[in-house]
Symmetry: C2
Subunit: 139 residues, 2 copies
DNA sequence: TCCTTACACTACAAATTGTAGTAGGAGTCG
DNA sequence: CGACTCCTACTACAATTTGTAGTGTAAGGA
Protein backbone atom coordinates (compact mmCIF):
# COMPACT_ATOMS: atom_id res chain seq x y z
CA UNK A 1 0.00 0.00 0.00
CA UNK A 2 2.41 2.61 -1.23
CA UNK A 3 1.13 6.13 -1.65
CA UNK A 4 2.54 8.11 -4.56
CA UNK A 5 2.00 11.72 -3.70
CA UNK A 6 1.42 14.18 -0.98
CA UNK A 7 -0.68 16.95 -2.49
CA UNK A 8 -0.11 20.54 -1.53
CA UNK A 9 -3.75 21.32 -2.13
CA UNK A 10 -6.62 20.20 0.03
CA UNK A 11 -6.48 18.74 3.48
CA UNK A 12 -6.92 15.45 5.23
CA UNK A 13 -7.44 12.45 3.02
CA UNK A 14 -7.63 14.67 -0.04
CA UNK A 15 -3.90 15.03 0.23
CA UNK A 16 -3.44 11.37 -0.59
CA UNK A 17 -6.50 10.45 -2.60
CA UNK A 18 -8.68 11.81 -5.36
CA UNK A 19 -11.87 13.55 -4.19
CA UNK A 20 -14.14 10.55 -4.59
CA UNK A 21 -11.55 8.13 -3.29
CA UNK A 22 -11.19 10.32 -0.23
CA UNK A 23 -14.92 10.35 0.46
CA UNK A 24 -15.06 6.61 0.13
CA UNK A 25 -12.14 6.07 2.49
CA UNK A 26 -13.71 8.51 4.89
CA UNK A 27 -16.90 6.46 4.91
CA UNK A 28 -15.12 3.14 5.27
CA UNK A 29 -12.95 4.40 8.08
CA UNK A 30 -15.91 5.92 9.88
CA UNK A 31 -17.77 2.66 9.76
CA UNK A 32 -17.32 0.08 12.47
CA UNK A 33 -18.58 -2.62 10.19
CA UNK A 34 -17.36 -3.72 6.83
CA UNK A 35 -19.49 -2.33 4.05
CA UNK A 36 -20.76 -3.40 0.67
CA UNK A 37 -20.56 -1.16 -2.36
CA UNK A 38 -24.24 -0.42 -1.97
CA UNK A 39 -23.71 0.65 1.64
CA UNK A 40 -21.01 3.06 0.58
CA UNK A 41 -23.01 4.34 -2.34
CA UNK A 42 -25.98 5.10 -0.11
CA UNK A 43 -23.78 6.92 2.35
CA UNK A 44 -22.46 9.00 -0.50
CA UNK A 45 -26.01 9.74 -1.61
CA UNK A 46 -26.87 11.10 1.81
CA UNK A 47 -24.06 13.57 1.59
CA UNK A 48 -24.57 14.85 -1.90
CA UNK A 49 -26.14 13.92 -5.19
CA UNK A 50 -26.54 10.36 -6.35
CA UNK A 51 -23.45 8.46 -7.39
CA UNK A 52 -23.72 5.71 -9.91
CA UNK A 53 -23.27 2.28 -8.36
CA UNK A 54 -20.74 1.29 -10.99
CA UNK A 55 -18.72 4.40 -10.40
CA UNK A 56 -18.42 3.62 -6.74
CA UNK A 57 -17.61 0.02 -7.51
CA UNK A 58 -14.87 0.88 -9.96
CA UNK A 59 -13.20 3.26 -7.58
CA UNK A 60 -13.46 0.84 -4.69
CA UNK A 61 -12.01 -2.00 -6.70
CA UNK A 62 -9.16 0.23 -7.78
CA UNK A 63 -8.48 0.88 -4.12
CA UNK A 64 -8.41 -2.87 -3.63
CA UNK A 65 -5.91 -3.18 -6.48
CA UNK A 66 -3.73 -0.62 -4.77
CA UNK A 67 -3.86 -2.58 -1.55
CA UNK A 68 -5.74 0.09 0.39
CA UNK A 69 -9.00 -1.79 0.68
CA UNK A 70 -9.63 -5.51 0.98
CA UNK A 71 -12.76 -7.35 0.00
CA UNK A 72 -14.29 -10.45 1.46
CA UNK A 73 -16.77 -12.52 -0.50
CA UNK A 74 -20.30 -12.89 0.79
CA UNK A 75 -23.12 -14.91 -0.75
CA UNK A 76 -24.11 -12.35 -3.35
CA UNK A 77 -21.70 -9.51 -2.81
CA UNK A 78 -18.50 -8.41 -1.18
CA UNK A 79 -17.74 -6.64 2.03
CA UNK A 80 -15.05 -4.02 1.83
CA UNK A 81 -12.84 -2.69 4.57
CA UNK A 82 -9.60 -0.74 4.84
CA UNK A 83 -6.48 -2.86 5.11
CA UNK A 84 -5.16 -0.67 7.90
CA UNK A 85 -6.92 1.61 10.35
CA UNK A 86 -7.06 5.28 9.70
CA UNK A 87 -4.68 5.83 12.58
CA UNK A 88 -2.16 3.36 11.19
CA UNK A 89 -2.48 4.96 7.79
CA UNK A 90 -1.89 8.45 9.12
CA UNK A 91 0.94 7.18 11.24
CA UNK A 92 2.62 5.61 8.23
CA UNK A 93 2.15 8.70 6.08
CA UNK A 94 3.44 10.99 8.76
CA UNK A 95 6.50 8.84 9.28
CA UNK A 96 7.25 8.50 5.59
CA UNK A 97 6.77 12.16 4.87
CA UNK A 98 8.74 13.38 7.82
CA UNK A 99 11.64 11.19 6.86
CA UNK A 100 11.44 12.25 3.22
CA UNK A 101 11.25 15.88 4.21
CA UNK A 102 14.40 15.67 6.26
CA UNK A 103 16.26 13.56 3.73
CA UNK A 104 15.35 16.05 1.06
CA UNK A 105 15.84 19.32 2.88
CA UNK A 106 17.88 18.53 5.98
CA UNK A 107 18.95 21.64 7.75
CA UNK A 108 16.57 23.75 5.72
CA UNK A 109 13.60 21.83 7.04
CA UNK A 110 14.82 22.19 10.59
CA UNK A 111 14.72 25.93 10.21
CA UNK A 112 11.18 25.81 8.98
CA UNK A 113 9.99 23.37 11.59
CA UNK A 114 10.26 25.76 14.45
CA UNK A 115 8.35 28.47 12.64
CA UNK A 116 5.72 26.04 11.47
CA UNK A 117 5.25 24.50 14.89
CA UNK A 118 4.99 27.89 16.50
CA UNK A 119 2.46 28.98 13.93
CA UNK A 120 0.25 25.91 14.09
CA UNK A 121 0.42 25.18 17.80
CA UNK A 122 3.15 26.52 20.08
CA UNK A 123 2.49 23.69 22.49
CA UNK A 124 4.07 21.38 19.98
CA UNK A 125 7.37 23.14 20.51
CA UNK A 126 7.49 22.01 24.11
CA UNK A 127 6.54 18.54 23.08
CA UNK A 128 9.35 18.49 20.56
CA UNK A 129 11.87 19.82 23.05
CA UNK A 130 10.87 17.07 25.42
CA UNK A 131 11.29 14.43 22.74
CA UNK A 132 14.75 15.64 21.91
CA UNK A 133 15.77 15.45 25.54
CA UNK A 134 14.54 11.89 25.77
CA UNK A 135 16.33 10.90 22.64
CA UNK A 136 19.59 12.31 23.89
CA UNK A 137 19.24 10.78 27.31
CA UNK A 138 19.00 7.32 25.77
CA UNK A 139 22.48 7.57 24.40
CA UNK B 1 4.62 29.02 -9.47
CA UNK B 2 2.62 26.59 -7.39
CA UNK B 3 3.77 23.03 -7.15
CA UNK B 4 1.11 20.36 -6.96
CA UNK B 5 2.72 17.33 -5.44
CA UNK B 6 5.54 16.07 -3.39
CA UNK B 7 6.34 12.61 -4.69
CA UNK B 8 7.31 9.85 -2.33
CA UNK B 9 9.41 8.25 -5.01
CA UNK B 10 12.66 9.56 -6.32
CA UNK B 11 14.83 12.25 -4.86
CA UNK B 12 15.80 15.82 -5.50
CA UNK B 13 14.00 17.58 -8.28
CA UNK B 14 12.27 14.35 -9.27
CA UNK B 15 10.07 14.81 -6.25
CA UNK B 16 8.53 17.89 -7.84
CA UNK B 17 8.92 17.37 -11.55
CA UNK B 18 8.60 14.65 -14.15
CA UNK B 19 11.86 12.94 -15.13
CA UNK B 20 12.54 15.08 -18.19
CA UNK B 21 11.38 18.25 -16.51
CA UNK B 22 13.73 17.53 -13.65
CA UNK B 23 16.72 17.06 -15.96
CA UNK B 24 15.92 20.30 -17.71
CA UNK B 25 15.60 22.27 -14.49
CA UNK B 26 18.82 20.70 -13.30
CA UNK B 27 20.59 21.95 -16.40
CA UNK B 28 19.08 25.43 -16.22
CA UNK B 29 19.91 25.78 -12.55
CA UNK B 30 23.46 24.55 -13.07
CA UNK B 31 24.04 27.10 -15.78
CA UNK B 32 25.26 30.55 -14.92
CA UNK B 33 23.96 31.85 -18.21
CA UNK B 34 20.50 31.78 -19.66
CA UNK B 35 20.15 29.04 -22.22
CA UNK B 36 18.39 28.44 -25.50
CA UNK B 37 16.44 25.30 -26.19
CA UNK B 38 19.30 24.06 -28.29
CA UNK B 39 21.74 24.62 -25.45
CA UNK B 40 19.60 22.55 -23.16
CA UNK B 41 19.03 19.89 -25.75
CA UNK B 42 22.74 19.49 -26.33
CA UNK B 43 23.38 19.24 -22.63
CA UNK B 44 20.79 16.50 -22.47
CA UNK B 45 22.47 14.72 -25.36
CA UNK B 46 25.76 14.64 -23.54
CA UNK B 47 24.17 12.89 -20.63
CA UNK B 48 22.20 10.26 -22.47
CA UNK B 49 20.71 9.52 -25.84
CA UNK B 50 19.50 12.18 -28.21
CA UNK B 51 16.37 14.09 -27.31
CA UNK B 52 14.22 15.53 -30.02
CA UNK B 53 14.50 19.30 -30.17
CA UNK B 54 10.74 19.70 -30.23
CA UNK B 55 10.31 17.51 -27.20
CA UNK B 56 12.67 19.67 -25.22
CA UNK B 57 10.95 22.80 -26.52
CA UNK B 58 7.49 21.59 -25.58
CA UNK B 59 8.51 20.66 -22.07
CA UNK B 60 10.38 23.92 -21.58
CA UNK B 61 7.46 25.99 -22.81
CA UNK B 62 5.16 24.11 -20.47
CA UNK B 63 7.48 25.05 -17.65
CA UNK B 64 7.14 28.64 -18.80
CA UNK B 65 3.35 28.30 -18.75
CA UNK B 66 3.59 27.05 -15.18
CA UNK B 67 5.68 30.05 -14.20
CA UNK B 68 8.79 28.05 -13.41
CA UNK B 69 10.85 29.23 -16.36
CA UNK B 70 10.82 32.58 -18.11
CA UNK B 71 11.88 33.26 -21.65
CA UNK B 72 13.43 36.33 -23.17
CA UNK B 73 13.31 36.98 -26.89
CA UNK B 74 16.54 37.17 -28.84
CA UNK B 75 17.00 37.82 -32.53
CA UNK B 76 16.32 34.30 -33.72
CA UNK B 77 15.49 32.42 -30.56
CA UNK B 78 14.68 32.69 -26.88
CA UNK B 79 16.78 32.48 -23.82
CA UNK B 80 15.30 30.55 -20.96
CA UNK B 81 16.05 30.85 -17.29
CA UNK B 82 14.43 29.78 -14.02
CA UNK B 83 12.19 32.39 -12.42
CA UNK B 84 13.72 31.72 -9.02
CA UNK B 85 17.06 30.30 -8.00
CA UNK B 86 17.32 26.71 -7.02
CA UNK B 87 17.95 27.78 -3.46
CA UNK B 88 14.81 29.91 -3.38
CA UNK B 89 12.86 27.10 -4.91
CA UNK B 90 14.05 24.58 -2.36
CA UNK B 91 13.48 27.07 0.40
CA UNK B 92 9.90 27.62 -0.68
CA UNK B 93 9.21 23.90 -1.03
CA UNK B 94 10.73 23.12 2.31
CA UNK B 95 8.69 25.82 3.99
CA UNK B 96 5.46 24.84 2.34
CA UNK B 97 5.90 21.15 3.01
CA UNK B 98 6.97 21.57 6.59
CA UNK B 99 3.95 23.70 7.29
CA UNK B 100 1.62 21.29 5.52
CA UNK B 101 3.15 18.37 7.36
CA UNK B 102 2.52 19.94 10.72
CA UNK B 103 -0.93 21.18 9.84
CA UNK B 104 -1.82 17.72 8.65
CA UNK B 105 -0.22 15.57 11.31
CA UNK B 106 0.53 17.86 14.22
CA UNK B 107 1.70 15.96 17.23
CA UNK B 108 2.16 12.83 15.16
CA UNK B 109 4.74 14.52 13.00
CA UNK B 110 6.57 15.81 16.05
CA UNK B 111 7.03 12.26 17.22
CA UNK B 112 8.49 11.26 13.89
CA UNK B 113 10.72 14.26 13.54
CA UNK B 114 13.07 13.27 16.28
CA UNK B 115 13.51 9.77 14.92
CA UNK B 116 13.94 11.03 11.39
CA UNK B 117 16.46 13.66 12.38
CA UNK B 118 18.42 11.19 14.41
CA UNK B 119 18.43 8.75 11.55
CA UNK B 120 19.45 11.18 8.83
CA UNK B 121 21.91 13.33 10.76
CA UNK B 122 21.99 13.49 14.55
CA UNK B 123 23.66 16.87 14.36
CA UNK B 124 20.37 18.26 13.16
CA UNK B 125 18.91 17.47 16.56
CA UNK B 126 21.24 19.94 18.24
CA UNK B 127 20.47 22.49 15.60
CA UNK B 128 16.79 22.06 16.21
CA UNK B 129 17.18 22.29 19.96
CA UNK B 130 19.04 25.52 19.50
CA UNK B 131 16.34 26.93 17.26
CA UNK B 132 13.67 26.13 19.77
CA UNK B 133 15.59 27.93 22.49
CA UNK B 134 15.92 31.00 20.33
CA UNK B 135 12.27 31.00 19.47
CA UNK B 136 11.27 30.77 23.11
CA UNK B 137 13.71 33.46 24.16
CA UNK B 138 12.11 35.92 21.75
CA UNK B 139 8.82 35.79 23.58
C1' DT C 1 -38.86 -19.85 -15.75
C1' DC C 2 -38.21 -15.13 -15.30
C1' DC C 3 -36.64 -11.18 -12.85
C1' DT C 4 -33.77 -8.66 -9.81
C1' DT C 5 -29.33 -7.76 -8.17
C1' DA C 6 -24.50 -7.44 -7.86
C1' DC C 7 -20.47 -7.90 -10.20
C1' DA C 8 -17.23 -7.99 -14.42
C1' DC C 9 -15.77 -5.91 -18.37
C1' DT C 10 -15.28 -2.14 -21.09
C1' DA C 11 -15.00 2.47 -22.46
C1' DC C 12 -14.60 7.39 -22.35
C1' DA C 13 -13.16 12.06 -20.52
C1' DA C 14 -9.88 15.35 -18.44
C1' DA C 15 -5.34 16.21 -16.69
C1' DT C 16 -0.37 15.32 -16.60
C1' DT C 17 3.93 14.20 -18.79
C1' DG C 18 6.80 12.54 -22.55
C1' DT C 19 7.23 12.38 -27.43
C1' DA C 20 7.55 14.06 -32.04
C1' DG C 21 5.72 15.53 -36.90
C1' DT C 22 4.56 19.39 -39.85
C1' DA C 23 4.30 24.02 -41.24
C1' DG C 24 5.74 28.70 -41.42
C1' DG C 25 8.67 32.62 -40.91
C1' DA C 26 13.12 34.79 -40.69
C1' DG C 27 17.71 35.10 -41.60
C1' DT C 28 21.73 33.28 -44.59
C1' DC C 29 24.36 31.97 -48.44
C1' DG C 30 25.22 31.44 -53.19
C1' DC D 1 16.66 37.01 -55.85
C1' DG D 2 16.07 32.19 -54.74
C1' DA D 3 17.14 28.10 -52.16
C1' DC D 4 18.32 26.55 -47.74
C1' DT D 5 18.71 26.25 -42.79
C1' DC D 6 17.10 27.05 -38.34
C1' DC D 7 13.90 28.03 -34.79
C1' DT D 8 9.32 28.40 -33.30
C1' DA D 9 4.24 27.50 -33.24
C1' DC D 10 0.80 24.33 -33.63
C1' DT D 11 -0.81 19.96 -33.36
C1' DA D 12 -1.25 15.36 -32.08
C1' DC D 13 -0.59 10.95 -29.86
C1' DA D 14 0.59 7.74 -25.94
C1' DA D 15 0.54 6.34 -21.09
C1' DT D 16 -1.09 7.22 -16.45
C1' DT D 17 -4.43 8.75 -12.98
C1' DT D 18 -9.03 9.60 -11.50
C1' DG D 19 -13.95 10.10 -12.22
C1' DT D 20 -17.80 8.41 -14.75
C1' DA D 21 -21.02 5.16 -16.48
C1' DG D 22 -23.03 1.58 -20.05
C1' DT D 23 -23.63 -3.25 -21.15
C1' DG D 24 -23.28 -7.98 -20.28
C1' DT D 25 -23.57 -11.92 -17.16
C1' DA D 26 -24.37 -15.00 -13.55
C1' DA D 27 -26.57 -16.26 -9.30
C1' DG D 28 -30.36 -16.35 -6.35
C1' DG D 29 -35.20 -15.68 -5.36
C1' DA D 30 -40.29 -15.40 -6.66
Amino acid sequence: MKMQNFKYEGSGLNRFFGPLEAKIMEILWNSIEEMTIKDVQQKLDNDSKANNFNTVMTVMNRLVDKGILQKKALARSYQYSPVVTREAFMEAQSKELTLDLIEEFGSLAVTHMVDALDKVDPGLLDQLEQKIKEMKKDR
